[in-house]
Structure formats: structure tokens, C-alpha cells
């Protein structure tokens, strides 16, 4: 299963479906994570807040390949995309282990194939450096065997880059 998360607007869903099995448009209309950990301790893999993101971790967890299309924000994800990722920590369990020589949570859905991040917008060299680091760290944390980051000048190019890619 390949999933694309993007912040390009719902009108881009159809176009992106050419390159994925499912598409999630992060539109930022959801409550942010409250840091309660109940998606680990009370009702595993489901958020305490019962809005449209309450099972987002299950969608991400069952995706062998994940592509994130995001506007650059200070070398990180846009607020809507980060909102979705923050609400999806149920992809892991509350238990901890070592991965890459560091402490990380064990993976509820096991290791997955690859994480591709496509960042668009005005991006400085320092921000590119941070985005590369962020992608690498996310791949370790979320359990992706491979990862990549690419940069596009605008949303149109980012949508095009993602839709060229064939499902793995």
C-alpha cells in the first residue's frame, strides 16, 4: 500500500491518486496532539480526540510506502502536515528499544519500505540541511528502511513530481 500525505489542497487528490493507492489531504482543520499518550495506553492506535484524524496512525502504519508533500516551514513540515504526523504516534508502541544506536519506540506495524519527502516553496540552504536531517530522523522513528528528500520550487512542481512516481 502506498499513501501520499499532502498540503496542496483537496483538488489535487485525483491527480495524486495516479501514483498512490490512497491520498490524505492535510488541511489543518484538526485539533493538535495534546501529548496525552492515550493512543498508547488507553485505546491503542486510536486518538483520544474522535475527529477525522483519530485513526491516522493506522493508515500510516499500514502503508508500506509513504510520500509526504509539504510546504517548507523553517526546514520542517507545514503546520497541517505536522498536525497529522503528531496525531499518528500510535504507529509505534509505548515500549522502547534501540534503533540506530539510540532509544526509540518499538514499531506496532514493523519495518516498512520507504519514506519520500517532497518539500516545496522558498527553501534556504540551511533549511534544506534541516529537512534532510528531519527526513532521516523520521525514517528511523517511523521504521522506514529507505528514505529520500527532494526539493521543488512551488506546489505545482511538487504535485507533478509526486504524480510521476509509479506505485512501488
Amino acid at each position: 500500500m502506498k499513501t501520499i500525505i499532502h498540503d496542496l489542497g483537496k483538488e489535487q487528490n485525483e491527480r495524486l491518486l495516479a501514483a498512490a493507492d490512497q491520498v490524505i489531504c492535510a488541511d489543518g482543520r484538526y485539533a493538535p496532539c495534546q501529548g496525552c499518550f492515550k493512543c498508547w495506553t488507553k485505546h491503542p492506535a486510536a486518538c483520544e480526540m474522535k475527529d477525522a484524524l483519530y485513526q491516522s496512525c493506522r493508515i500510516l502504519g499500514t502503508s508500506e510506502d509513504l510520500t509526504i508533500i509539504t510546504e517548507n516551514l523553517y526546514g520542517g513540515y507545514s503546520s497541517p502536515v505536522k498536525n497529522l504526523l503528531d496525531r499518528s504516534i500510535g504507529v509505534s508502541t509505548p515500549f522502547s528499544t534501540y534503533r540506530g544506536g539510540e532509544m526509540h519506540h518499538t514499531l506496532r506495524y514493523g519495518e516498512r519500505n520507504r519514506l519520500d519527502v517532497i518539500a516545496y516553496g522558498d527553501i534556504t540552504e540551511a533549511e534544506k540541511h534541516t529537512l534532510k536531517l528531519m527526513t532521516e530522523r523520521n525514517a528511523i522513528n517511523m521504521g522506514f528502511r529507505e528514505h529520500s528528500i527532494s526539493f521543488c520550487s512551488d506546489a505545482e512542481e511538487a504535485g507533478g513530481t509526486a504524480s510521476w512516481k509509479r506505485p512501488y
Binding site: 483537496k10 487528490n13 485525483e14 491518486l17 493507492d21 490512497q22 491520498v23 490524505i24 489531504c25 493538535p32 496532539c33 495534546q34 501529548g35 499518550f37 492515550k38 498508547w40 495506553t41 488507553k42 491503542p44 492506535a45 486510536a46 477525522a52 484524524l53 485513526q55 493506522r58 493508515i59 502504519g61 499500514t62 516551514l73 523553517y74 526546514g75 520542517g76 507545514s78 503546520s79 505536522k82 504526523l85 503528531d86 499518528s88 504516534i89 508502541t93 509505548p94 515500549f95 522502547s96 528499544t97 534501540y98 539510540e102 532509544m103 526509540h104 506496532r108 506495524y109 534556504t124 540551511a126 533549511e127 540541511h129 534541516t130 536531517l133 528531519m134 530522523r137 523520521n138 522513528n141
Partner: protein, 256 residues
């Protein structure tokens, strides 16, 4: 007199480890101080108003998925516009805290904050990245409990005519252990506040709770097991690969 605004960026209303470390740092910051909490969009105008005449700002930020919590990002964008419009150039310090043991895991968050300063025309002055800061929450619950037990023990021993100083020595050992575990956090926070008071660049420094990582992991696992038993998650597919419901709302597929 210089003004420092300290912003707790944790979404938690209570028991925020980041907020606790920020308050500890605030004790040593000289001059005018204002403590604020960024949890909701409605908090943003008040914080921007406080920043209008600030010389320094300290962000206390928990690490969420290798970065800044999503509710903080729109505020940073607003603050960027505000600072540009008002031509503000305050000094920015960061206290980052994460639930893993390695303080260095805060590095992407620190870089994002540095990039933010570059965009907003503010002076990036570094900060500290803390690993395992959540342990401080355990300590701040345990210490008053231990203190209460010490008083009770002293009273009982007094009644029985035994050495009443023994519980004091025992409590002293507990305090000593606490300080030893937190010595890195305390030392680096003192160092950071010294830079804040002088208005100098603190650089980026990483520290942690002084426990071997395998012991920290063991305690973390025990903690989450107890909480999961109490909240019932352990009986509801604790480690299961649960699949999304068919109508979970946000997905668009080829079948729609």
C-alpha cells in the same frame, strides 16, 4: 531593566516537563520576566503583545515527531510577520526537551528554531536540548511524598524513643540521588541562564538525565505498562496491528 518573555510551548495544561524546566531557568533570569503558555490559538495575541517590548525570549519546547509541535508552528509564522512589521530584533533562546534519553535527538528542533530566527530577523542565541526530562515529573511528585513520609517516620520514631534523625539522613540520600540524576540538566540550565543574563550566544548544548539508557528504558517500559493496565489499553490490542475502519474519514482512494 531588560525584559525576558518565557514561553511554555507544551500543549499540556498540567505536568509539563518543559514548563517545569522553564520555570527553573526563570528563577535565575534577572530583570523583568513574563511567563506565558502557548496552548491554543487564543493565546497568540497576548504573547505577541508581551513580545512587543521584550529584549529576550525563551521558548520551552517539547519534541514532537522530531520537530516542533504543530500548534506552535502557526504562532511562529505569526511572530515572524509581527517581528518584521515592528522591526523587532530580540534574542532567542530555546529549552528543548524530549522523552528519549538522548538530548541530541532535539537537534532538528533546534535547527528549525534557528531557521525561524533567520526568517524573522531575530538573533539566534542557542539553547539546551534535554533527554529524559520527563523524569523531573516523577521526581517532583516523589519528593513531596518522600518528605511527608520522612516527617511521619520522625514522629513515629519520636514516640517510640528511637533516633529521629535516621529518616532525615534517608531523605538526604534521596535528595542527593535526585541531584545526581539531574546534575547535567541543572548545570546546563544554570549555564544557559548566565548567557541569557549577559545577552550572549549560548551555543547548542545537549544533556540528559544521568541514567544509563538501558535503565531509563526499563523504567519507561514499567511506567507505560502500569499506566496501560490502569487505563485498560493493555487489554485492547496493546501491540496489535490494528487496521483503519472503512469510514475513517480522511482517505481518498481510487474507489473513493
Amino acid at each position: 531593566m531588560e525584559k525576558t518573555v518565557l514561553i511554555n510551548c507544551s500543549p499540556k495544561n498540567k505536568m509539563s516537563a518543559s514548563g517545569f524546566i522553564m520555570r527553573f531557568a526563570g528563577l535565575m533570569v534577572r530583570g523583568r520576566k513574563e511567563y506565558l503558555h502557548l496552548r491554543r490559538p487564543s493565546d497568540r495575541p497576548g504573547i505577541l503583545q508581551a513580545l512587543a517590548d521584550a529584549d529576550k525570549v525563551v521558548f520551552a519546547v517539547p519534541l514532537y515527531v522530531d520537530g516542533i509541535p504543530s500548534h506552535v508552528l502557526p504562532f511562529l509564522q505569526e511572530m515572524e510577520g509581527f517581528c518584521r512589521e515592528k522591526n523587532l530584533s530580540m534574542k532567542v533562546y530555546v529549552i528543548a526537551n524530549n522523552g528519549f534519553i538522548e538530548g541530541r535527538q532535539n537537534e532538528p528542533l533546534m535547527q528549525v528554531m534557528e531557521n525561524f530566527c533567520g526568517r524573522a530577523g531575530l538573533e539566534w542565541c542557542g539553547g539546551i536540548g534535554i533527554g529524559g526530562g520527563v523524569t523531573l515529573n516523577v521526581e517532583r511528585i516523589m519528593l513531596p511524598v518522600m518528605f511527608g513520609l520522612m516527617i511521619l517516620n520522625m514522629l513515629l520514631r519520636g514516640v517510640q524513643g528511637e533516633d529521629i534523625l535516621e529518616p532525615v539522613r534517608s531523605f538526604g540520600t534521596t535528595i542527593g540521588t535526585f541531584l545526581l540524576l539531574c546534575c547535567g540538566i541543572i548545570a546546563f540550565t544554570v549555564r544557559l541562564t548566565s548567557h541569557i543574563n549577559k545577552g550572549t550566544d549560548a551555543g547548542k548544548r545537549y544533556t540528559r538525565i544521568m541514567l544509563p539508557s538501558f535503565i531509563f528504558i526499563l523504567f519507561a517500559d514499567i511506567f507505560f505498562t502500569i499506566i496501560s493496565v490502569l487505563q485498560g489499553g493493555i487489554f485492547r490490542g496493546w501491540f496489535s496491528r490494528l487496521k483503519p475502519d472503512a469510514n475513517c474519514g480522511i482517505i481518498t482512494t481510487n474507489n473513493h
